[in-house]
């Protein structure tokens, strides 16, 4: 076990690198210019020159600033030419002449004038395809460098004067947005998963014990029916007929996970309030997951009930309940750990719709809103956050499995 966990952690690294590559590739390989599309989505019809300027600023903030690779160099050299010592000025001027083919020598004003006029055309023309491939890697390196430093870019949509950043934009680092919302989504998922277990396992086991009879067939059909009801339908119905402001009973709140005055409540009232708010969302997440787990539990128990050791136990004259619950059940729960862990990514992703329907400020709603607002840094961060969370869930599952089954070899 002591060597197993570090080994498992090391194996996560290539996958994590792959996830960052995927996140970057989706934005970079997208047809068209995603940054310019983002600006269009934000501000509608604007002057192309202004658009290019803002696109450049955004690229810089996202760490995607590679089309300006040369422009970047020119800017540095210009600065050197202006402020550096004599040797630096000489080098900068020589570099500038080499890159641009202009011969202004050390005449800083001419350089600046030329640069103001030609900057965008210059940047576009200097990029040849081979250079572009290099630039993509260059940009990827920069982006990863920023992420390692904890800078995930800036959100376009989520701005607030309360979170004023040093450059005065008021935009927020996407990772903070996610850190605020991870507990909400995880809590919802863990509670839902708990209820799925609580209901599905007994149903599955009972079905296995009554194989082929009414309970077995009935429960399979009903759970399959539940599975087939889309959350978008059931959620809508619950919202319309059970929530305040709807058509029917006004039993539950319409949105959110807390009442507006939740901060002032005592811990007991706070808990009750949260439970009251969470009932419908959790119900929406639970009913669809029952069929799969019940079927799994049923198959697992059936397989164990056919095993030789069960025949031995029966032959010894053990009472039936002891055979089933003490011998077969324990062995059949074990393989389910892996399956349940594999279900986690789907669960975490599945709460997107529930969060959107019930306006719960979780990761899913954040991602959907970011997608609609073309908030690229938040979108890229969401890929990373979801990927990391799932990897951690898989790790915990593997460790649990190794811990529960001593026969697992740690290779």
């Amino acid at each position: 076990m002591r060597t197993y966990i570090p080994k498992r952690l090391l194996l996560m690294i290539p996958t994590l690198v792959g996830i960052t590559l995927l996140a970057y590739a989706i934005v970079r390989l997208a047809p068209g210019d995603p940054i310019e599309a983002m600006i269009l989505a934000q501000s509608g019809d604007i002057d192309p020159k202004v658009m290019r300027q803002s696109a450049e600023r955004i690229r810089e903030r996202l760490g995607l600033k590679d089309i300006n690779y040369w422009g970047d160099d020119v800017a540095t050299h210009l600065e050197q030419l202006e402020k550096g010592d004599d040797a630096a000025k000489g080098r900068a001027a020589a570099e500038l002449e080499r890159i641009t083919g202009k011969t202004f020598a050390r005449d800083i004003d001419s350089w600046k004038k030329w640069w103001d006029v030609n900057r965008f055309d210059f940047e576009k023309t200097l990029i040849d395809p081979a250079e572009k491939v290099v630039n993509v890697f260059h940009g990827y390196g920069r982006w990863v460098g920023h992420i390692v430093q904890g800078n995930f870019g800036e959100s376009i949509k989520y701005r607030s004067s309360a979170y004023r950043t040093p450059d005065g934009h008021g935009s927020r680092n996407p990772i903070h947005l996610f850190l605020e919302r991870i507990p909400v989504t995880l809590t919802l998922n863990v509670v839902a998963q708990f209820f799925i277990f609580l209901i599905a396992i007994p149903v599955g086991l009972t079905a296995a014990r009554h194989r082929g009879r009414l309970f077995d067939r009935g429960s399979t059909l009903i759970l399959l029916g539940f599975w087939s009801v889309p959350v978008i339908l059931s959620g809508t119905l619950l919202l319309v007929y059970l929530c305040k402001g709807g058509e029917g009973m006004e039993w539950f709140p319409l949105a959110g996970l807390h009442a507006l005055d939740a901060e002032d409540l005592g811990w007991w009232d706070y808990l009750v309030d949260t439970l009251w708010h969470a009932t419908l969302p959790v119900a929406c997440m639970v009913y669809g997951g029952l069929a799969y787990l019940a079927k799994l539990g049923r198959a697992s128990l059936l397989e164990n009930l056919r095993a030789d050791y069960i025949r031995t136990a029966r032959a010894k004259g053990l009472p039936e309940h002891r055979v089933v619950y003490h011998h077969a059940l324990r062995n059949s729960l074990l393989p389910m750990i892996t399956t349940v862990v594999l279900m986690l990514p789907a669960m975490i992703g599945g709460s997107v719709i529930v969060e959107t329907l019930f306006t719960i400020q979780g990761m899913g709603l954040l991602t959907v809103n970011a997608a609609k607002a073309y908030d690229l840094s938040v979108i890229m961060t969401s890929t990373l956050v979801y990927g990391t969370l799932t990897l951690m869930a898989l790790l915990i599952g593997d460790i649990l499995y190794a811990w529960a089954d001593p026969q697992v070899r740690y290779e």
Binding site: I19, S228, T367
Partner: protein, 399 residues
């Protein structure tokens, strides 16, 4: 050939049945699976025949003694392609019988030949249609002129396809004989929405799952058969895709795709790109088992070329478990597609979109009830069929 153990048609009688035949035999014993299969065929038929059921273009039109069949001019090339696909799928057994003697000489299974011939036919005809046929798009004013002509056969429900001034007078009507599922807030007929939504759902389900399964099967077969670095690289790639929840990945990809691209094909694209990992893993596991089987050793010893070794001997033996994944996959695709339309991330004529519209006016219950029921029924029959196939291929059942 006239051995005592073969019949006149050349089929061995005493030989064991093929795995596919066993699974089909098991499946036929299950009424629920058969009912769901029939429902799926019906759904496919209805969605292909939608313009004949509801719409404004008459099937037959007699004006001044001249008879014409307008609907066939108005049907789009894709509608013809879909009809052709259905006809070709239904006639597979016929062609198989026709090809059998020749196929045996060529040494490949008649089924493979039939599928190849039909796929080729479909591709050629579809290509010809798209290249040379221009469907009629002009507005014919057929409904307005219906009283003035000698005879007209309209679709069962004659109603304009496009929401316009005409229909606004009929908006938000509850179900009636004229509009069996009522009308929406623009006077759009809900039954028409359900039918055209069925087209979206069925085509996206079939095409997306077909593409993603093909990707998964090919990569899985290569990965499982060769092992080594191919397996290592492919497995890592699959792992990366599995680590990000599918809906999130889809939302992210849809965001960066330009919004003026056709939404239907974009949904197919994202579902295919994100959906292959399941069938990849299954095929890989099957391949790891199959490559050690005796018949594979025998085939290798006979010096059969690699593509035939994989295509004829290895892959077909690993396909049955993937069928379960395919049927559940189609159900999942219908779910995802309607969810994306519901969240307003794509603009397709979809049940999800209808549900989203219906949600804003819950008092017009027929809107959301029809869309929701359509999604439920479609997903339910696919899940039921998937359950049936899963039980049928369960090795613990007696074969």
């Amino acid at each position: 050939m006239s051995d005592a153990r073969t019949t006149e048609a050349g089929e061995p009688t005493g030989a064991p049945k093929s795995y596919g035949a066993i699974v089909w035999g098991q499946l036929r014993k299950r009424p629920s699976a058969m009912i769901s299969l029939a429902a799926i065929v019906l759904l496919a038929l209805v969605s292909i025949a939608a313009p004949f059921i509801i719409g404004e273009i008459p099937v037959r039109w007699v004006e001044n003694g001249e008879t014409s069949w307008p609907i066939f001019r108005y049907l789009s090339n894709f509608e013809y392609a879909a009809m052709l696909a259905l006809v070709l799928a239904v006639t597979v057994p016929l062609t198989m019988r026709l090809l059998r003697p020749r196929a045996l000489i060529a040494g490949a299974s008649p089924f493979t030949w039939t599928v190849l011939v039909h796929a080729g036919l479909w591709l050629i005809i579809t290509f010809a249609l798209v290249s040379f046929r221009e469907p009629e798009r002009r507005y014919g004013f057929y409904l307005e002129r219906a009283d003035q002509v000698d005879a007209a056969w309209f679709p069962a429900i004659a109603y304009p396809r496009n929401p316009g001034y005409r229909e606004l007078a009929f908006k938000n009507q509850s179900p009636s004989w004229e509009h069996p599922l009522g009308t929406g807030r623009l006077g759009n007929d809900i039954l028409m929405g359900v039918l055209y939504g069925a087209r979206t759902a069925m085509s996206i389900g079939f095409v997306a799952v077909g593409i993603s399964m093909s990707i998964g099967v090919i990569l899985g077969a290569l990965s499982g058969y060769f092992g080594g670095w191919i397996d290592l690289v492919l497995m890592r790639i699959a792992e990366i895709f599995m680590c990000i929840p599918r809906l999130i990945l889809i939302i992210i990809i849809l965001t960066v795709i330009p919004s003026n691209w056709p939404p239907l094909w974009m949904v197919v694209f994202v579902l295919s790109v994100t959906g292959w990992t399941g069938s990849y893993r299954m095929m890989r596991a099957q391949m790891l088992r199959i490559r050690t089987e005796d018949y594979m050793t025998a085939a290798r010893a006979l010096g059969i070329p690699l593509w035939r070794l994989l295509g004829r001997h290895a892959v077909p033996n690993g396909l049955a478990p993937l069928l379960v994944g395919a049927t559940f996959g189609i159900a999942g695709a219908v779910f995802l597609e309607s969810s994306l339309a519901f969240l307003n991330l794509v603009q397709t004529p979809s049940w999800g979109e209808m549900l989203n519209n219906g949600r804003q006016h819950p008092e017009h219950w027929w809107v959301w009830a029809s869309a929701g029921a359509a999604i439920f029924v479609t997903v339910f029959v696919y899940n039921l069929l998937g359950e049936g196939i899963r039980d049928a291929i369960d090795p613990r059942l007696k074969i």
